[in-house]
Symmetry: C2
Subunit: 372 residues, 2 copies
């Protein structure tokens, strides 16, 4: 049994037999593909207790527990572990990194085996559907036919919905959190400004920066912007108000306000751990995401999967009305679904922070589906 | 009488006698100072019909009418002219550009008479209060003791409020639109990301780019971000939805969605007309803006000025609650004030677009104050 804060390791799965090239939505192919993933708990004998957790834009496979030598646990450690929302005493939890990323899975910073150089922009454009199609081979590899649940927040929620769209027979339940059926023009717009900031940086060099160092300034600007959209007006007021770094205004172009210092700090640490080209590819995948109309459930069809859709009142990046659109669609197709809107002030970040409410909802939802 | 769409000219006023150096909030001084301004209508005999209109971040003195050879009228032409909200048959309307700008008034791109070179970053930091203190000399120059009204949207509204704070005896009424008593951390954060985008551009050269060309890419990113905040989620959906530029996804880092093309276009035209250093200075002035607590009206004092405070429901950059804070303060000090929240979907841009509603409100408000 994996215990809370126990040491975990990221594992790697490479497609080594056909199909070793994945056909992509663009018409191109990608392969061989490596996926980074972690698992927690034990798969039961009839393989009915597997939950796949999907991560957001800058997340990775390390959802919970500690890596040897690290000081911080995984990104959703408060939700995954013994007795937690995704209770690893009962469930076998898998978290898979996405293709296109830079956290162990094949992405633009990976070595292209055909050239022995990083792909850079020769990496094919990928979509949320491509990410999920790759994960399917990991789930096959783990010997799991049907997942008890697919769950995730933000882009993780998009992947969860896409799992249902691509493999409806392989998903017993789905928990999309802080997400929607498609990216809106405002969501596309924020992503595009981030991409333009990266591509405006001369260090980007059309993506060929792997020998010279990445476009840190541009990527940092993109991340700073991201952070504004992850918080709410209210949570920024609560956290920073107009507090100054020093006693008085500098009357210079320096950091006057704590909120400025925070954003710059978040930008600075991000560029140390994330690849700018991955940022471009993954945001583009999110912008292409569109399961509206009949793309989640084909016309005149229904689904056996059950849904728990969670949104947060102050999330203005993925506003509750987008979650309500998911629920409206599900209800119109007679799919079993519950909708919960949590009264949080944390904005989009709430899905990482409102642990108590999420735990209560998810525990209850899963225990109704999984009877051991 | 100035007629609608008639040809107008920008005029320039330079402080040529003491004080030819304006003391600034930073403790530094600036001078000589030129202000670009335009006027419309006629000042009446007892000089009681003068209205000062203040502009937003990227605005200028050209609020209405046509410049010789131009194809488009001033930025608020639908509001200023004979029979309009600010009726130039009745009122003498003045619009003054701000110091720190680049549209004819003294700013960082102006020649510093002491060095015969552009100020660049040797231009002193300015505040909204400094802008207003400079305008006061223009109003003196025009021979006006008491303004019938000060009015403006966004940063124009901040200047209107600051006029009341600095010169309460010289303002009979005030119309702050789509604004607040202070910049919130979220507003500061958006400005800071824009500034970081400009300063990350190597063409910025610590502000010394006047001989080599300005940091167009950085300034364009800042403007693109600005445009997202000026619209609303709803108005972007109404205008762009997920409409594609071409028939299919490009699967490249090119413009796929119309909203992307729109933002890039707005960025491109902005860098042709606006100075990057002015963008830095003016956004900083907005971030420093804070008339909360007793700074608008000193403790235990009241005001004779009358207020019409206007906000727009979908404005999330300067949300209605910030306008309500102004009104709450005014009511608590027994200042005559009306609050109107207009049910628009246009976001912050609404103050430039909801002409019919604004006209009705402002006409009524002004005619109650001005009896001829």
């Amino acid at each position: 049994m994996v215990t809370d804060k126990s040491i975990v390791q990221t594992k790697y799965f490479t497609f080594s037999q056909p199909p070793n090239e994945l056909p992509l939505e663009s018409g191109l192919k990608l392969g061989p593909i490596t996926l980074a993933f972690e698992t927690y708990g034990e798969l039961n004998a009839n393989k009915s207790n597997a939950i796949l957790i999907l991560h957001a834009l800058s997340g990775d496979a390390h959802v919970a527990g500690m890596h040897q030598g690290d000081e911080k646990p995984g990104w959703w450690d408060s939700m995954v572990g013994p007795g937690k929302a995704f209770d690893t005493n009962k469930y076998f939890v898998i978290c898979s990194n996405v293709i296109g990323g830079c956290r162990g899975s094949t992405g633009p910073s990976s070595i292209n085996p055909k050239t022995n150089k990083p792909y850079a922009l020769s990496f094919p454009m990928i979509t949320i559907s491509d990410m999920v199609n790759a994960q399917r081979f990991l789930i096959d590899h783990l010997g799991i036919d049907k997942l008890l649940c697919v769950a995730g927040g933000s882009m993780g929620g998009m992947q969860a919905l896409q799992w249902v769209a691509n493999f409806p027979q392989r998903v017993r339940s789905c928990i999309p959190i802080s997400t929607g059926l498609k990216h809106s023009p405002q969501q596309i717009a924020f992503d595009e400004v981030g991409r333009q900031a990266i591509m405006a940086d001369p260090d980007w060099k059309e993506g060929n920066y792997y020998e010279t160092g990445q476009p840190e300034k541009g990527l940092s600007v993109a991340r700073m912007l991201g952070h504004i959209t992850y918080m709410s007006d209210q949570s920024m007021e609560d956290k920073f108000s107009r507090k100054l770094k020093d006693k008085n205004y500098s009357f210079k172009f320096e950091t006057d306000f704590e909120v400025e210092g925070y954003l710059i700090y978040r930008g600075d640490i991000f560029v140390k751990r994330f690849d700018a080209n991955s940022y471009l590819y993954i945001t583009k995948a999110m912008d292409y995401f569109d399961l509206s109309a009949d793309k989640l459930i084909p016309e005149n069809k229904t689904l056996d999967s059950r849904f728990l859709v969670i949104a947060f009142k102050s999330d203005w990046l993925y506003p509750p009305y987008q979650s309500q659109e998911i629920v409206r669609l599900l209800k119109s197709r007679h799919v079993h679904s519950s909708y919960c809107e949590i009264n949080s002030t944390y904005g989009h970040d709430a899905f990482l922070l409102e642990i108590k409410e999420e735990t209560r909802l998810i525990n209850h939802f899963l225990s109704n589906i999984f009877k051991g």
